[in-house]
């Protein structure tokens, strides 16, 4: 079975790219932050490593887990084939977990040089702002490697194991357990709400320290809402669907029907949009509130640290989530080759399919932006209350507009471009493969 796993990797590398990319970028980020712990144990270094690394850890673990389960689920047909050829559940599980482990190790190894460079950049940033002594030499050692390899491998193997239990567990292949997912979502949302309340109560008056809990609140909430993506998508479709149907003609009708029957697959596309919008909006506005609140106040000296840090961390995380968004959408769309071909054989033109996909993008983007915006409120509202004394930030909405536009553009570009590419060549070739 391990042999089959390795053969799969060599034979169909395309199916594993999505997982590889998210594991690779995730490991690089983790290594960068962890390498600061290798470098020294001054307070600035440790704060940067734990704060930045902590946020990354959560997001990276979630990203790796969700891309991996997406790719395993989309290979359900291959699993079913092996099963009918006599492979037992445990054998299939070994195959899926073996693949995941191999990808995680390869991705982490490839991430070492990138993590090393990023870590150096972080350190020089800390030196430039005078938070770390200019004489400190950069070290990339056991902690960086251990965290990078360890988290990626652990995340991948755990996700593969859990998904494999569902995909390969029983012959019927009843792949979803919505109850478990919903319970997880509620737990994450509760954790988020808890951090929000802490921010507004315990951290009120603690100044810049409130950023810690407020930032976490948004991330937990974003993950919770991302897990609820199928439900959110159905809700949005129920409301917006009639409009899409009325304006979009056949393409609109197909898009709406598609959402109902494929809400789980499309939810995979909603998740990264929620994360991107949530994390970016939450942190940018939190920093805005902080900057205004700090004007003319006497600050603890590490306020400066945290501000630089916040922008760097937000930048890195936003970039990571953006790449993950594009990555997930490309993978999810490319796998619809057969479905698109079947539509074409039934008489759909390329134009009609592009229209259908674009309307799906509208539904996905609305859902994702909505979820992300709600998640961002978990950060902004309590932080505003704690730091500025009012719930609604008196900040301009243009940053939010930029973030939303970016999310929509990335979603649309990745999906439509991939669809266009997938529609090349005759439809008959696509159903043979």
């Amino acid at each position: 079975m391990i042999a089959i796993a390795l053969r799969n990797l060599k034979h169909r590398p395309g199916g594993f790219i999505a997982t590889f990319v998210s594991a690779f970028l995730g490991a690089a980020l983790l290594m960068a932050f962890a390498s600061l712990m290798d470098t020294g144990d001054s307070e600035s270094l440790t704060t940067t490593a734990t704060v930045g690394g902590g946020w990354c850890l959560v997001i990276v673990a979630f990203a790796v887990t969700s891309t991996l389960s997406l790719s395993v689920r989309q290979r359900a047909d291959q699993v079913a084939l092996l099963r009918s050829a006599g492979a037992t559940g445990p054998q299939l599980r070994r195959m899926i977990v073996g693949e995941a482990a191999a990808i995680a190790v390869l991705a982490s190894a490839a991430a070492v040089p990138v993590g090393w460079v990023l870590g150096r950049v972080l350190l020089s940033l800390l030196k430039d702002t005078g938070q770390v002594d200019a004489g400190v030499g950069y070290q990339f050692g056991a902690i960086a490697l251990g965290t990078g390899f360890g988290v990626t491998l652990l995340g991948a193997v755990a996700a593969a194991w859990a998904t494999a239990r569902r995909t390969a567990g029983n012959a019927g292949g009843k792949p979803e357990r919505p109850r478990l997912r919903r319970i997880g979502a509620v737990l994450f949302l509760l954790a988020g709400a808890n951090c929000s309340i802490l921010t507004a109560t315990v951290m009120d008056g603690k100044g810049v320290d409130a950023m810690q809990t407020a930032g976490q609140a948004g991330i937990w909430a974003a993950i919770g809402l991302a897990l609820l993506a199928p439900e959110l998508l159905r809700m949005v479709t129920a409301v917006v669907g009639p409009v899409v149907r009325a304006l979009g003609g056949v393409a609109g009708e197909l898009a709406v029907t598609g959402v109902h029957s494929r809400s789980r697959q499309l939810a995979g596309a909603v998740m990264p949009v929620v994360l991107f919008t949530g994390v970016a909006t939450g942190t940018v506005y939190m920093q805005g509130i902080e900057d205004r609140a700090a004007e003319g106040q006497i600050q603890p000296e590490y306020a400066q640290d945290i501000q630089t840090l916040n922008y760097v961390v937000v930048g890195m995380i936003a970039l990571f989530v953006a790449v993950m968004l594009v990555n997930t959408l490309i993978a999810a769309t490319a796998r619809r080759r057969r479905e698109f071909a079947q539509h074409r054989l039934a008489g759909a033109t390329r134009g009609q399919l592009l229209a259908m996909v674009s309307l799906e993008v509208v539904l996905v983007a609305i859902t994702g932006v909505l979820g992300g915006s709600v998640a961002a409120l978990f950060t902004i509202v309590p932080f505003g209350s704690a730091r500025a004394g009012h719930l609604w930030p008196d900040a301009s909405p243009w940053q939010y507009a930029v973030i939303v536009t970016l999310a929509v553009l990335l979603t649309a570009a990745a999906t439509v471009q991939t669809t266009r590419r997938t529609l090349r060549g005759p439809a008959t070739a696509a159903i043979r493969a």
């Binding site: 029957s261 479905e339 079947q342 539509h343 039934a346 008489g347 033109t349 005759p426 008959t428 070739a429």
Partner: protein
């Protein structure tokens, strides 16, 4: 009698260099049921797909009801095809996310035509009580009947069927074949069907034989025995050529 489908010197060479069609010319008269037979790899599927406008021949011309299909670009060809040509595949190719009724009506909706009630046709195919089922809940024979209904819904001049009974048991196969015969003899449509089964071919009005991408004769009023015998010869022939 006018021709529903006419192909003139069709050539098809795939990207990998395989020549699947090597100069095929044939005409299928309106209101006839023709079976296309030949050894595996002789180019039957390629011929059907090129004739139906699903694929482009490397050279040669295809006419459907007197209109040249090969002169048009992809989108125009799709629009033309979905009104005039029906296609039935061995593996059905129904959309798994659409119900039986939605699948059957799909070509009409894509063509922007008024929907009609598919009850009559589905009822006739014995699927009247399954209209809101998803394809995955149907047997192979039932799925193939849905596929035939879908191919008929736009009232096309010609229906191509590539091994429509290849995945079916004898009884389901006979049902589908009877259906195709009725399509021709009751509704006056034209059917071109690829099959490997001499018994299936015997349902047709005539049989066209294909070997190595070329025509290798025809047979009118086929019986299963006569077809089997011709096929055996064809087999000998191709083995000899290959040797």
């Amino acid at each position: 009698m006018n021709d529903a489908v006419r192909v003139e010197s069709l050539y098809k060479t795939y990207d990998n260099g395989v020549t699947a069609l090597d100069g095929v010319s044939a005409a299928f008269a309106s209101g006839t049921f023709t079976a296309v037979m030949g050894p595996s790899g002789s180019g039957k599927s390629t011929l059907l797909q090129c004739a139906a406008g699903l694929d482009e021949p490397t050279a040669g011309r295809v006419f459907i009801g007197g209109t040249e299909l090969t002169a048009t670009k992809d989108t125009a060809r799709t629009k033309f095809r979905r009104g005039r040509v029906g296609f039935v595949f061995q593996d059905y190719n129904l959309l798994p996310s659409l119900t039986v009724e939605q699948n059957v009506l799909l070509p009409l909706r894509l063509a922007g035509k008024r929907r009609k009630d598919p009850k009559a046709i589905l009822g006739r195919l014995g699927l009247g009580d399954r209209t809101h089922e998803l394809p995955e809940r149907l047997s192979g024979g039932q799925r193939q009947r849905v596929a035939v209904a879908r191919a008929l819904v736009t009232e096309p001049a010609v229906i191509f069927a590539d091994e429509p009974t290849g995945a079916l048991d004898m009884r389901s196969a006979r049902e589908v074949l009877t259906l195709l015969r009725a399509v021709v003899h009751e509704f006056g449509r034209t059917v071109v069907m690829v099959t490997h089964d001499p018994v299936a071919a015997a349902h047709a009005d005539s049989v066209l034989f294909l070997a190595d991408g070329r025509l290798a004769g025809s047979l009118a009023r086929p019986t299963a025995e006569a077809v089997a015998e011709r096929l055996a010869h064809l087999g000998d022939l191709t083995t000899r050529i290959a040797a």
